[in-house]
């Protein structure tokens, strides 16, 4: 089974932490995350990134800057703009980005 690596980035620490926890419930996914934008290059050096999941608090310029930083290390990264801050929309957003149907988590 291919594991898709998800990088969660946002400015609300509690919501980023929740999203990491929720993403990691899917066996096909592995999530890392940060609220500190300067940490992104370090994370990209130590971990592959298949999906960039934007959480709340980021302006368009920051999202563009983050995408560019990630692209310096990894290619073909899918971008997901997460809305809602929790579990309700997450599975659909990931399914659509990855072209998969993720198994429902326990």
């Amino acid at each position: 089974m291919k594991i898709h690596n998800v990088l969660v980035v946002g400015k609300n620490e509690a919501i980023v932490a929740l999203l990491i926890k929720l993403v990691n419930k899917y066996p096909e996914l592995f999530a890392l995350g940060t609220c500190e934008l300067e940490e992104i290059p370090t994370i990209c050096q130590i971990s592959p990134v298949d999906v960039l999941l934007f959480s709340s608090g980021l302006c368009l310029a920051e999202e563009k800057d983050i995408s560019q930083k990630v692209a310096q290390f990894h290619s073909n990264v899918k971008t997901v703009e997460h809305f809602g801050g929790g579990s309700g929309l997450l599975r659909t957003e990931l399914n659509q980005a990855l072209g998969l149907i993720l198994a429902c988590p326990e």
Binding site: N12, L18, S56, F83, S87, G88, T92, Q96
Partner: protein, 239 residues
Amino acid sequence: MTKSILHKADSRGQANHGWLVSSHTFSFANYYDPSRIHFGALRVLNDDMVKGGMGFGQHPHDNMEIISIPLEGDLEHKDSMGNVAVIRQGDIQVMSAGTGIYHSEYNHHKDEAVKFLQIWVFPNKKNVTPRYDQITLQNKDSLNQLQQILSPNPEDEGVWIHQDAWFHLGHFEKGKTSHYQLKKPDNGVYAFVLEGDFQINGYDLNRRDGLGLWDLEGFDLKAQSENSKILLMEVPMHI
């Protein structure tokens, strides 16, 4: 030419967690249907029943306009902005989640179920300051006519949200008709039958059926049974 999409009540996604029974018009949580993700800016239309004494513990939301409409019973709300409230049938609650908000929702009663609609609309602006509001509707204004309950304008009738959306409720006697004129040409309308039966644009709609219409200026609706209730949600079709 008018475009339309019909969602019959029994085609909705079902979730039964014991304490929570929910019908999802659009993909939500474990229900996923790629052909049913959203209707324009309308992303979630959940028809929820929560057993007595039960509810959703504290959980976060961000960047979403969240509207709750109790249909039966009372719903207790607490949030991280310090709001504590009970919303009842005839009330409308709205939250702009924006940069992030925590809240809980519980059935206010231990021995009777609460039934409510939870509606999520994509905002037209991300990362707004979170806000909460609730109002009580005057039922006398909705018999045999459409009553505006939501708009983009704080000064207008009903609650307001960060989106070019207008919601109307109507309670009709059998045979009564009404006309709905869209506020913006690029918007569409999602009609959701709360009770009874309606006819809209040649479609016969029954309880909890949904009909999306777009590329039109307006439409007529007709109640086909007594005590028929409908919710019209006008939203932008392009997000």
